[in-house]
């Protein structure tokens, strides 16, 4: 059994944020690159970083906010300690994904798109991991799991709750 992996992030820090923005700001069309880098460092994109990005790229705050909110990936607050993503697209639906999603919701006591009250697990839908020939599939903190069934799902949920 592989050890439980827990993503770790730095707490938000303006100086560190400014460094990240400066590091990527010179590229053409840098907005998404910077937002990705900020989220990778802090686990989310802090509100305070938005005007900093805007200033560095000579954009309005509204423009950066608009980009930030357009894309499903970017978070405005940290996720739970573990993120469990279940593929909800057609190939996984065809292979019994609907029942598994309902089971995960029941086990965790939250609906898709939410975090458990103890902040341990964020359960999210994902639209296709490209593992459609070994469906249904899931991703726990970046680790891929195919041929999901009730037993495997229960083990994943238990692992995420630890």
């Amino acid at each position: 059994m592989t050890a439980v992996y827990e993503p770790s992030y730095e707490p938000w820090n303006e100086t560190r944020g400014a460094e990240i923005i400066a590091e990527h700001g010179k590229q053409e069309g840098a907005t998404l690159v910077i937002l990705h880098a900020l989220q990778e460092a802090f686990g989310y994109v802090p509100e305070a970083a938005i005007p900093m990005v805007a200033q560095a790229l000579n954009l309005s705050r509204a423009e950066v906010h608009g980009v930030f909110t357009f894309y499903h990936d970017f978070r405005h607050k940290p996720a739970g300690r573990h993120v469990l993503k279940l593929c909800r697209a057609e190939a996984c639906q065809a292979a019994g994904g609907d029942a598994l999603a309902a089971r995960a919701e029941a086990r965790l006591g939250v609906s898709l798109g939410n975090t458990t009250a103890d902040d341990r697990v964020t359960l999210e839908p994902i639209y296709c991991l490209g593992l459609c020939a070994t469906a249904p599939s899931a991703m726990l903190d970046g680790r891929l799991i195919g041929r999901l069934d009730e037993k495997r799902l229960d083990a994943l949920v238990a692992e995420a709750q630890r």
């Binding site: 690159v33 790229l57 980009v67 057609e90 639209y127």
Partner: protein
């Protein structure tokens, strides 16, 4: 001499335990004092046999699969003593499912080490590019056009014409953009080739660059594909080091370099103009066409934007000549298509074959029907915007025009199989739901229409004024089809209308239920 083994590092294989098997092989071999070398390849695409372990012999590779950690000791015993094993599949190349394919684009995938430029070159890599250098831009265009290659992303636009348009423009900068935002459910060919043969994509993009006069390329990969991002980044660094990217590539006078950009979970960014907006750092809002990206694309400059599979087809065409490619296929669909068999299917995976194979052959014969063992009832071809086909249409040949004539599309070549437990009302509702979630919001038919579509199908499911609401859905679909700016709103009607047309019985309550209600 040490034993040479091959285990895939493809995300689809890793998801079913390939890493664990590779580790177990190493540990078990070390314990026995046997020297082994494990090469982590891409996937052969026979996913029901993953994790697949291959063993090098002077006569070729021998395959075993699907292998689990607990099979490892007995597997090593069988290899050491050359005795039979339950999981032994024989020579990999002789496995019928692989043998009956025509692998032009996927020839190396699952065979070579995707991290090794030398391995790529040893298996014919950059042969096409070298010929391209000797031909020069005009002759390359002639070859690409003569091959009949059409955009493999789904739209099927002739690649040669697109390249020629960009080549004819004059601008201080031009760009090559590779669309690797493979968001369609049931498709994974782009992911496989990026993970299993990344230099092929680089070679295709570089060839495009020297043809049209572009010196910079971007490959936009969706964030759901971290393994592909890693593989492409590693390959780009290796290609640069090997002199195949940067200044004076391959000893020529041309310069071309490229970088990976990662998407952020927006399906609509697979639409080419939305992708360009995203690359420029903006919201992925669809642009109105014209102007075409070929005239005004990335940062307002002439841009070739093609799908991964289109670029990946180029090296073969140049190495073997346009005719060798065009000899495969039917009608106006020339060459081969990497078809992806997915969903509830027994033998799921990547099946590259010439155009013309029928849907029934693909699903029943090659795919082996459902893994649940229940009858196949519906197959969705071409992703979330593709039509649902019933068994009655299984004679349809895999060809752009044949699918269009039956109100469907081949899209990116994904086929998702459903058994008879499927409720087509739910699938129709999901199509609208997905469009509502992913709509960029720029045009009204898509933005509002999809939400109204969900609500109306919901009413049908609840038995509210069914025939009126069915007519309303059909009307709404027409508005979306003809009034939307891009394929998201424009094609969402395909799954909805095909479900209504071919699976009408799911939408109309049975007469007995009606009588009971009265």
């Amino acid at each position: 001499m040490s034993m040479r083994l091959f285990v895939s590092r493809d995300a689809g294989a890793v998801a079913v335990g390939a890493d664990e098997v590779a580790l177990a092989l190493e540990a078990a071999a070390a314990k026995r004092g046997v020297a082994i070398e494990i090469v982590r390849t891409g996937s052969r695409g026979l996913y029901w046999l993953e994790p697949l372990v291959e063993f090098a012999t002077p006569q070729g590779r021998i395959a075993f699969g699907p292998v689990t950690e607990s099979d490892v000791p007995s597997l090593l015993d069988a290899l050491a003593s050359n005795t039979p094993h339950l999981l032994r599949l024989g020579a990999t190349e002789e496995i019928p499912w692989l043998k009956r394919q025509t692998r032009l684009t996927f020839a190396r995938c699952g065979v070579i080490d995707p991290r090794s430029l030398d391995d790529y070159r040893a298996h014919g890599g950059y042969k096409g590019f070298e010929r391209a250098l000797s031909l020069g831009p005009d002759a390359i265009l002639t070859e690409v056009t003569a091959s009949g290659l059409r955009g493999r992303g789904g739209a099927g636009f002739p690649t040669g014409i697109k390249w020629k348009t960009v080549a004819q423009t004059s601008a201080n900068r031009k760009f090559i953009v590779c669309n690797a935002d493979e968001g369609d459910s049931g498709t994974f060919a782009d992911r496989m080739i990026m993970e299993g043969d990344p230099f092929l994509v680089i070679e295709g993009m570089t060839t495009s660059g020297i043809t049209v006069g572009a010196t910079k390329g971007y490959i936009y990969i969706r964030s759901e594909y971290p393994h592909a991002v890693e593989a492409m980044n590693a390959a780009i660094i290796a290609a640069r080091r090997g002199g195949y990217l940067g200044d004076k590539i391959g000893g020529s006078t041309y310069s071309f370099d490229m970088e990976v950009r990662v998407g952020a979970g927006a399906y609509v960014c697979g639409e080419e103009t939305s992708l360009l907006e995203s690359l420029e750092g903006r919201r992925g809002l669809v642009r109105a066409k014209p102007p075409l990206p070929a005239h005004r694309g990335l940062f307002g400059k002439p841009t070739v934007i093609n799908n991964v599979l289109s670029f990946a087809a180029i090296p073969f065409i140049l190495a073997e000549g346009a005719k060798a490619y065009a000899d495969f296929g039917m009608g106006r669909s020339r060459g081969t298509m990497p078809i992806q068999l997915a969903g509830n299917i027994r033998h799921g995976g990547l099946f590259e074959t010439a155009f013309g194979v029928t849907l029934g052959e693909l699903v029943d014969d090659i795919g082996g029907g459902t893994f649940t063992g229940r009858p196949v009832r519906a197959v969705q071809v071409g992703g979330p915007l593709g039509a649902y086909f019933p068994r009655a249409l299984f004679e349809t040949p895999f060809d752009y025009e044949a699918f269009a004539a039956r109100d469907g599309l081949i899209g990116h070549g994904g086929i998702v199989v459903f058994d008879d437990s499927v409720d087509m009302r739910r699938q129709a509702r999901f199509a609208m739901e997905f469009c509502a979630i992913e709509s960029c919001g720029k045009c009204t038919p898509c933005r509002i229409g999809s939400t109204r579509g969900v609500e109306t199908i919901e009413k049908i499911i609840n038995g509210e004024r069914v025939s009126e609401n069915l007519a309303l859905v059909e009307d709404l679909c027409n508005t979306m089809k003809f009034g939307s700016l891009c394929a998201l709103g424009g094609f969402t009607p395909y799954p909805v209308l095909s479900a209504l047309k071919h699976f009408r019985e799911d939408f109309i309550p049975a007469p007995t239920t009606l009588q009971a209600a009265e």
